[in-house]
């Protein structure tokens, strides 16, 4: 049986001033016609480079070794003309982030029809093209009048559907999907994956799918390959790989996405927190926030929200992006003024007097989503951590307190880190510095906005462990804002589900996530890709 794609000992090196840097290291992979292969790995492991190498789309500084056989044709031996003929007709790509992969000033029709036109021997009639585009849009479940739209008029999910329609335009024997749903919400992600799976299967095309999320791949692909630092460390049947992973890295990838409802991935003893709740530390009563954008359109980002964070508990605020959860967090932090309702800290409204705001700022601290951005690149770790103390003119014993905060955030020995700049640290270390910067003021509440979303799978666990440890040791209350129900399941006592600015349901994690009352919570749970439990 001939294969659609065969990679034999493929290596890719990038020329850098410091000499060649190996990004892909002797990879061997094969894909049969109509087969599905998932390629998993952390960011920077070389999976996208490998995908681009299939169609020779890498920049000139890249050097590819080994053989890439597409339909038994060696891609590196093709002439430019031959290569152009193979591109899209032989293998097409669904790129990551359709916002940027679609041309912003051309219509959907233009962009889908373009490859059909390019790969036709004779110039096809406009009516034939129109018919073809209509058919393709139907296949990805988009109304045909969307052909007239420009990319910015579409939602993220719709854009990704357009990308899929475009990829199918020339009926290729292979579709490469590079993180096709990464920027999308769980529910939309599930819908788009469904469309992709079905469209590819109907046409008998093979699918090579790339993702950092093993659970997304497991739901679609029959075979999986795990990449780590440029090399494929493990590959095999999906069922075997997720139930009995052999390589340490595969296990780490699988553990990074905890399964809702599985007792093994729940790290808190929920009974204590949910029943015997203390007084509310931070509370929102009837909070509403409205934005007015430039075209005077009013957007009600948060409506009538009641939420409490009590002493010694972890609350998870979950919702899709755009649901208003970050706005709510900013309002709770006093960075954004509510139009209606009140935010109180220990029963006092911050900002009612200048002293209360100052005190509030010490007690409620933020841990932002992206630790790389949250640290000023010009400041050392010491300056970043001491910033809070200096703002509050509380500089007695500064050096000692900074050291203690760093050690509390498990950056030991602190002396090794104080003099470094953010670019000299890893992502996980940066997030620890941000946490230390919050801890130095000895707050009572930590508001963590997607604290691990930008971190690699292997580091996530460590940071979550740190947050859990802080709560155990210091009784610190944490409000975690996340789109990831698995994360809520693994560390929170209570969960609040937000949709379009409103809280639709809140309660103890065990109840809300296993017996949801609201249909939206059910929809969210159903959309979460799940992985058969990994045997440790």
């Amino acid at each position: 049986m001939t294969s659609v794609l065969r990679l034999c000992d493929v290596s890719v090196d990038y020329a850098t001033p410091a000499g060649p840097r190996r990004v892909v290291d002797r990879v061997n992979l094969g894909l049969d016609p109509g087969g599905t292969l998932g390629l998993a790995g952390e960011s920077g492991c070389g999976k996208t480079t490998l995908a681009l190498a299939v169609l020779r789309l890498l920049p000139r500084t890249a050097r590819v070794r080994g053989r890439v056989l597409l339909n038994e044709q060696d891609v590196s031996q093709l002439t430019w003309g031959g290569l152009r003929a193979v591109r899209w007709a032989g293998a097409s790509v669904v790129f990551q982030g359709a916002m940027h992969a679609l041309n912003p000033v051309r219509t959907v029709f233009d962009q889908i029809a373009e490859p059909v036109r390019v790969h036709s021997v004779e110039r096809p009639a406009v009516s034939a093209l129109r018919e073809r585009v209509r058919e393709l849009l139907e296949r990805v479940e988009l109304p045909p009048e969307r052909a007239r739209a420009y990319p910015h008029e579409l939602s993220g999910g719709q854009r990704q559907r357009v990308m899929i329609a475009m990829a199918l335009a020339c009926e290729p024997s292979l579709v490469i999907a590079d993180e096709p749903t990464t920027a999308l919400d769980v529910v939309v992600q599930a819908q788009v994956m469904d469309v992709l799976r079905r469209a590819v299967r109907e046409r008998g095309a093979a699918l090579l799918m790339i993702s950092h999320d093993l659970s997304v791949l497991a739901g679609t692909c029959h075979r999986l390959a795990v990449m780590y630092r440029g090399a494929v460390v493990e590959q095999g049947e999906t069922a075997r790989l997720v139930t009995a992973p052999e390589h340490r890295h595969t296990r780490e990838l699988a553990a990074a996405f905890p399964t809702v409802g599985d007792a093994g991935s729940r790290h808190v003893d929920g009974s204590a927190g949910s029943e015997g709740r203390g007084n509310a530390l931070l509370s929102a009563r009837g909070v509403g926030v409205t934005f007015v954008d430039r075209s005077r359109t009013r957007t009600r980002a948060v409506r009538n929200v009641d939420l409490e964070v009590c002493a010694d508990e972890t609350v998870a605020l979950v919702g899709q992006s755009g649901s208003g959860k970050t706005t709510l967090a900013r309002t709770l932090l006093g960075l954004c003024r509510p139009d209606t309702g009140r935010v109180r800290y220990r029963g006092v409204e911050p900002g009612s007097s200048s002293g209360s705001l100052r005190e509030f700022r010490r007690q409620v601290q933020l841990v932002a989503q992206d630790p790389t951005g949250a640290l000023n690149p010009r400041h050392t770790v010491y300056e970043a951590v001491a910033e809070g103390l200096r703002i509050h003119r509380d500089v007695v014993g500064e050096a000692e307190r900074v050291r203690a905060a760093l050690e509390a955030a498990e950056l030991r020995p602190a002396a090794d880190f104080v003099g470094r700049f953010p670019h000299e640290l890893s992502g996980g270390q940066r997030q620890r510095v941000v946490i230390a910067g919050a801890l130095v003021l000895e707050p009572a509440v930590l508001v963590a906005d997607e604290p691990v979303a930008s971190l690699d799978a292997t580091v996530r666990g460590e940071i979550l462990e740190l947050l859990l440890g802080l709560r155990r040791r210091r009784g610190l209350s944490v409000l975690v804002i996340t789109h990831d129900l698995g994360l809520a399941w693994s560390i929170a006592d209570r969960v609040a589900v937000m949709r379009a600015g409103e809280l639709v349901e809140q309660g103890p994690v065990e109840r809300v996530l296993t017996e949801p009352e609201h249909e939206y919570t059910r929809a969210l749970l159903a959309a979460v890709p799940s992985l058969p439990r990994v045997v440790d």
Partner: protein, 342 residues
């Protein structure tokens, strides 16, 4: 089944009111700017000099009676707010006052000189834009090659040259002639006195006169258009949709023409219009060098005296026309760019 939990931007609905709102906002902005020009014109020429009559007679000795007479003639003996009111009322009627040197209405003088300037600046701008965009596209597409370096160096050098100096050099080399080289083009004015009658000979004569000033303007101003187009296209060249286009199997030139250039062109168009002010500046000196009977030369004649009413008139007219052109460009841009249109 469509996306149940997300919605695209409202499709086409509400586009018309939003466009109307946009047009109204732009026109309102332009009106504010024009009002500011009027205020600035008054402030600059009536308030700032303290005594405009003395400023105007700086170069000549005058008696106290003459000064008083002059003040009365220009209404300078009135309180400032009365002067401002009269200025606004007259401006609304299209009356910009009377020239001190020519003893004729400023509006009339400006009207006479408008045509030649529009002809010269218009032709030069169109040529410079076309040349600049073409060179910029080629330079960006061959980024890092000898072509790019050559285009960029020539462009930067021309941009660094004062317009009037280039004009003087061209005037000397091709107007007057250097050494054995005879003068090929007229040195001053826009027409010769001894032209045979008929439309064609006169058009050719004006064209002949226009070559040197036009070349000077184009040489200097095309450079900035080129640099803008180049950097704008370079920015687009890293864009991911170009990888998509290449992956589709398009030829390189189709990728460039069909995808990169249309995207790069739009920001360039705005910048081109923002640079209209520099074109006007160039026109003033070039008209001075080549004695081209336009608004620029009129400005130069006015500032030598200085003839404040005339200078005020040219200031208001030049500034307003640039503002009007810019507003038109912004409205046009709205039509061209789908991203802004929706």
């Amino acid at each position: 089944m469509t996306d149940t939990l997300e919605h695209g931007r409202p499709h086409r609905s509400g586009t018309v009111p939003r466009t109307l709102g946009f047009v109204a906002r732009k026109l309102g902005g332009a009106a504010v700017s024009l009002a500011l020009v009027a205020v600035l014109g008054f402030f600059l020429f009536r308030v700032l000099p303290g005594d405009p009559a003395r400023t105007m007679t700086r170069s000549a000795p005058v008696s106290a009676e003459q000064l008083a007479q002059l003040r009365h003639r220009f209404g300078l003996d009135q309180p400032l707010y009365v002067q401002f009111r009269d200025f606004l009322v007259n401006l609304a009627r299209g009356d910009l006052g009377t020239s001190y040197t020519y003893n004729r209405p400023v509006t009339e003088l400006i009207g006479e000189r408008l045509g030649p300037t529009v002809l010269l600046v218009g032709t030069a701008t169109v040529l410079a834009v076309l040349l600049g965009l073409w060179l910029g596209t080629r330079a960006a597409w061959r980024h890092g090659t000898a072509t790019d370096r050559w285009f960029t160096s020539v462009g930067l050098t021309l941009w660094s040259v004062p317009t009037f100096w280039l004009g003087l050099l061209l005037l000397m080399a091709f107007g007057v002639g250097v050494g054995p080289l005879p003068g090929l083009f007229p040195v001053a004015g826009m027409s010769s006195p001894d032209v045979p009658p008929g439309v064609l000979p006169r058009v050719l004569d004006v064209g002949h006169h226009m070559v040197l000033p036009c070349v000077t303007l184009v040489a200097v101003i095309h450079a900035q258009f080129m640099m803008v187009m180049r950097s704008s296209l370079l920015e687009e060249m890293g864009a991911e949709y170009l990888t998509t286009a290449r992956a589709k199997g398009l030829r390189d030139d189709a990728v460039r023409r069909g995808h990169a250039v249309p995207n790069a062109l739009l920001p360039t168009v705005t910048l081109v219009f923002l640079h209209l002010g520099t074109v006007v500046a160039g026109a003033i000196t070039v008209e001075t060098v080549f004695s081209w009977p336009g608004l620029g030369l009129l400005t130069y004649e006015a500032l030598r005296v200085p003839d404040l009413p005339l200078l005020q008139g040219t200031f208001v007219v030049l500034a307003s026309s640039v503002i009007v052109m810019n507003t038109l460009a912004e409205l046009l841009y709205r039509v061209l760019d789908p991203r802004v249109r929706a």
